[in-house]
Amino acid sequence: MQRVKVSVEDLIRIVELCRTVEREGIDPFEVNVRAYLEKLKKYLPHWKLLDELLLDVEAINAISSIIKLQSDWIKSRSSSLYIDPIFVELKIRMLDQKMIAEAFLNSWHPIVAIDQIFSQKLKEAIDYWNNLLPLSERWREDFSPSTPIGTFDMDDLIELKLISLKDFDEKMKRLLEELRSKLKDNDKIDYWDFVCADTFEETLERAYITSFILTEGYATLLIDPLEERIFITLIKKSRKSIPCSLPIAIDYENWKNLKERKN
């Protein structure tokens, strides 16, 4: 039997090619979808490692994006707005600036808007200015030596009665139970699927408490660098591993995108 020469680089090449076509708006029909799919089918029995299989899945995903692009391409070509890009480029090169500008002006309907400060706002601004202390005085108040700059830790927050240890323990216990119930049928859960909640504040709280669950050693994170995904998995028995810190940034935009994806 003839041995098929397989290499992971082929998969990476397919993914890269598809992503470039997608990114740069190149004609998606330039990609020989059938040939690539046949190649993937031929290679599939040779993949043994998880990373190889994941790369194979990514290649399939990239090829399916190309098929979607091909469908969009056909729709666009059949629309009344479609004109061959090469023809347009040629026209732009041939026409002088005045002719291009004339065509533009005949299709241009500029937005009309008024940008004005009202007397009421002006009065508010004057009042604000009159009440504003000079910068030197404000700085003296803000950074006076009596208020040294420092950081708060959990103990400080408990001492200030901003949070109670009992409440926090309760919340942590509840979240841990939720995590355990979600991991009953699966080994792992996507980090963002777990922490994302209905409100941004709740999401921040879940992310914060989750970090304590991880630090306490009830669960751990699995990182898939290929797909750039983070999973949470429970620790069933103690393992000897090197502890490390993983900063996970979360902001409002990030949360909004997650919510949209979730819905």
Partner: protein, 184 residues
């Protein structure tokens, strides 16, 4: 004047104030914002405003979220659409020049938009630069593209791909632009 007429007149003035006065960097208002102020039947006020603006060569332009012209939009599509006031009939070259636009800047904008439209709404920045540099010096191309992006005529992602911007959707009749360019 009947009570209803008086109410309509107040709403008409309110609608023109809302649409004329700039609130954010991105102009115009969403349908739901107008609905909140003018009431559920705000589209009838917009129609009325449109007929008043027509006398001044102005119009209310509605840009739907998926950027397609819709004959019979649903309530949800109208809520999410953005409303602007635009000039109705095209301006004369002299009007544009006196408003601070140079003829070569307009040509550069037209060429960039036409190129992006022909490529299904997106094109690498370097391709647009390459074509513009055939007719304009590099510094002018760079300056113009930055200005077009800043003003919302074009938008750019982190991979340096240019797209049609929100202002182009609101202000430019894209089909007419392409027809006129190709007819020259």
């Amino acid at each position: 004047m009947s009570e209803k007429e008086a109410e309509t007149s107040i709403k008409l003035k309110r609608a023109s104030q809302l649409l004329f006065f700039q609130r954010h960097k991105k102009l115009g208002l969403r349908g739901w914002e107008l609905k909140k102020v003018l009431g559920k039947d705000f589209m009838s006020i917009i129609d009325l405003l449109n007929s008043e603006l027509d006398k001044l060569n102005l119009q209310v332009k509605i840009v739907f979220e998926d950027f397609e012209a819709i004959d019979k939009p649903s309530e949800e599509q109208i809520d999410r659409a953005r409303f602007f006031i635009t000039i109705k009939n095209p301006l004369a070259v002299s009007d544009i020049i006196s408003s601070g636009w140079r003829i070569d800047d307009i040509a550069a904008l037209a060429a960039a938009i036409a190129l992006i439209i022909s490529r299904q709404g997106k094109a690498p920045k370097r391709d647009v630069e390459q074509i513009l540099r055939e007719k304009f010096p590099k510094w002018r191309v760079d300056m113009n593209l930055d200005r077009f992006i800043k003003n919302g005529y074009l938008s750019k992602d982190d991979k340096d791909i240019l797209y049609i911007g929100w202002r182009t959707r609101a202000e430019i009749d894209q089909k007419m632009l392409m027809d006129l360019l190709l007819a020259k």
